[in-house]
């Protein structure tokens, strides 16, 4: 076989890669548009479009439909895209970093840290929030959750460094220990909580895009965008890590820097997401896994497609969450886990069967 043929097959591959990104992007856009058009209140698509264009060129439309499209569906859709994309992307980065297709962004302690901080806010700090004007008070929860996520991630990172190197095993073990600690902390807070505080906190841990506002979008946007800008640069390093840390180093990858950037990026993006939408489980775990099964593990393609797929998944789940039980709403985490878990089991079974049948 000549080099020309090998080269040609790589060009074919590249076309295939573009097609994959194109399809993923198309799905994401479709989901977003559906999210603007579908809801418990029937609003014809033309009317939705008119309202959106009115919003964009300043000729505001008044009335209930406009409030629904601009103040409920639009913020939820935007937040869903940002949270879905950054959480799924974080999962892909974590799975690459740990060379484990079942790793989850929570493994760096972000979710447990955010959870503990949120519990602290609900149970101790909400009183503070009442003393302060409305806007700052409602920001207290997202800010606490975000800070908590970062603090725990930073602690985990420091704990797992030995002789200037970050040990994956230590990171996992420390993560387990800190997870147990934050659970205990949450347990204590739950103990002293009132029933009302308890219920609010429980709903928060199930995740929701309800209450999406431009303030919350502004909170998560910079972190999500920053992470999505940085992540592609980790692609080659994550691929190289598949050969082992020593080999990756020989190939020119600064492994310590890769780990540092990955952990910080994940902590910031997931911390901000958890802060505004609660803990939406499963997106970070299952999206990269499914995408990898379809298009392969090469991160240059995996990362962007996973981000787009995550946006699609979360926005679609949100459509279901706010429509099937209308006029009430099912927590988002229930949908993502309720759909995600069986689907993942099916995938694993299918893979296992396929291997046995070889």
């Amino acid at each position: 076989m000549t080099t020309a043929v090998a080269g040609a097959s790589m060009t074919q591959r590249r076309t295939r890669d573009f097609a994959a990104i194109g399809i993923a992007a198309a799905l994401a856009v479709t989901a977003a548009m559906a999210s603007l058009v579908i809801g418990p209140i029937a609003i014809p698509p033309q009317r939705v479009a008119a309202i959106l264009f009115g919003f964009l060129d300043g000729t505001a439309t008044a009335g209930r439909d406009a409030v629904v499209v601009l103040d409920v569906r639009l913020p939820r859709t935007v937040l869903g895209v940002l949270v879905g994309a950054s959480t799924a992307l974080a999962g892909a980065v974590m799975q690459g970093l740990f060379r484990n297709p079942l790793a989850d962004p929570g493994v760096v302690g972000v979710s447990s840290g955010a959870g503990l901080a949120a519990a602290l806010w609900f149970i101790l700090g909400a009183g503070l929030g009442n003393l302060v004007p409305w806007n700052l008070g409602t920001l207290g929860l997202p800010l606490s959750a975000f800070a908590g996520g970062l603090i725990v991630s930073a602690t985990l990172h420091l704990l797992s460094r030995r002789e200037g190197q970050t040990s994956a095993t230590l990171l996992l073990l420390a993560g387990i220990a800190i997870g147990a600690f934050t659970s205990a902390g949450v347990g204590v807070l739950v103990f002293i909580a009132s029933e009302q505080q308890l219920r609010e906190f429980t709903f928060w841990t199930l995740g929701s895009l309800g209450g999406a506002t431009s303030t919350k979008i502004a909170l998560v946007l910079p972190f999500a965008l920053a992470f999505m800008a940085v992540a592609p640069r980790l692609a080659r390093g994550l691929d190289a890590l598949a050969l082992g840390e020593a080999e990756a180093f020989h190939l020119g990858i600064d492994v310590e820097r890769l780990k540092r950037v990955a952990v910080i990026g994940v902590a910031a993006a997931v911390g901000a997401s958890v802060a505004v939408s609660g803990v939406v489980g499963f997106v970070g775990l299952i999206t990269p896994h499914v995408v990898r099964l379809v298009i392969g593990p090469a991160h240059r393609l995996l990362l962007p497609v996973t981000a787009l797929a995550g946006a699609t998944f979360l926005v679609t789940a949100d459509i279901v969450a706010r429509t099937i039980a209308a006029p009430s709403e099912i927590p988002l985490g229930v949908i993502t886990a309720g759909v995600g878990a069986p689907f993942m089991l099916w995938l694993l079974l299918r893979q296992g069967l396929a291997q046995q049948l070889r």
Binding site: T3, A6, G7, R13, A246, D254
Partner: protein
């Protein structure tokens, strides 16, 4: 010229390599031999810049590499160690592509990867999953990766470091790897190989360095290897056999 001077390395508080010297000139093949635990891999890793010696320096063309970044090192030297089994479904082409830096243009990358695979006679497998290949084929793909890395950084002399690349390989596979080493040296790169088979070492080396208990005990052309020396180093009696069978490495 890649030079290691006075290298001493401590691992877990114990000194495993003391005062070792090494010179790899462009176009030359230097082979390290010695018993297990003698410090061969340690010396290779120090030369590769993968570990920091507690004493001594490693220089490439006179410049001390101790402050070099991973990328700077990769531009001057490639390492082929025993291959790791991959759990993820990468294709052979994707593995070879890892040798090439990100900044390169697509068509250049394609050419380099294609040529590297062709050089190890694996061009047909570019789109196949590496996990679906046999052990020997996988080793060839990793060899292609290293070739790609060298080809991608034209200009200053490259150095190829091979750490026991023939372990678990059958004679045909060993031949492939060793011919690769020869070819790379012939194209102007310097080659350092750690080998356990003394005969193979003698067959390909321009210079042999013998290590024992963390020290260099002998250095010279293969002719300098005597049964007495080897007997001392390995602790078993050696003799020169009249009829020896080994793959023809020409």
């Amino acid at each position: 010229m890649l030079e290691a001077r006075g290298i001493s390395v401590q691992l877990s508080g114990r000194e495993v390599l003391t005062d070792a010297d090494l010179t790899i000139a462009p176009g030359r093949i230097v082979v390290l031999i010695g018993p297990n635990g003698a410090g061969k891999s340690t010396l290779l890793r120090a030369a590769a810049g993968a570990l920091k010696p507690v004493r001594g320096t490693v220089t490439i063309d006179g410049k001390n590499i101790s402050g070099w970044s991973a990328a700077m090192l990769a531009a001057r030297r490639a390492v082929l160690a025993q291959s790791v089994t991959l759990t993820m479904a990468y294709t052979a082409g994707e593995i070879v592509r890892l040798g090439v830096p990100v900044s390169m243009r697509n068509h250049e990358v394609d050419t380099i990867v294609g040529e590297a695979l062709a050089a190890v006679e694996m061009a047909h497998a570019a789109e196949r999953l590496i996990s679906a290949l046999s052990g020997g084929e996988q080793q060839r793909v990793h060899a292609a990766r290293v070739l790609a890395q060298i080809a991608a950084h034209r200009g200053p002399t490259q150095y190829l470091l091979l750490d026991e690349p023939t372990t678990h390989l059958d004679p045909a596979q060993q031949r492939t790897v060793l011919q690769l080493a020869r070819r790379v040296a012939a194209s102007g790169a310097g080659v350092l190989a750690v080998l356990h088979d003394v005969n193979v070492a003698a067959a390909i080396a321009d210079e042999i360095v013998v290590l024992s208990n963390g020290r260099v005990v002998e250095r010279g052309s293969p002719a300098a290897l005597t049964p007495e020396l080897l007997g001392r180093v390995y602790g078993v009696p050696f003799h020169i056999a009249e009829s020896a069978m080994m793959p023809n490495l020409a």
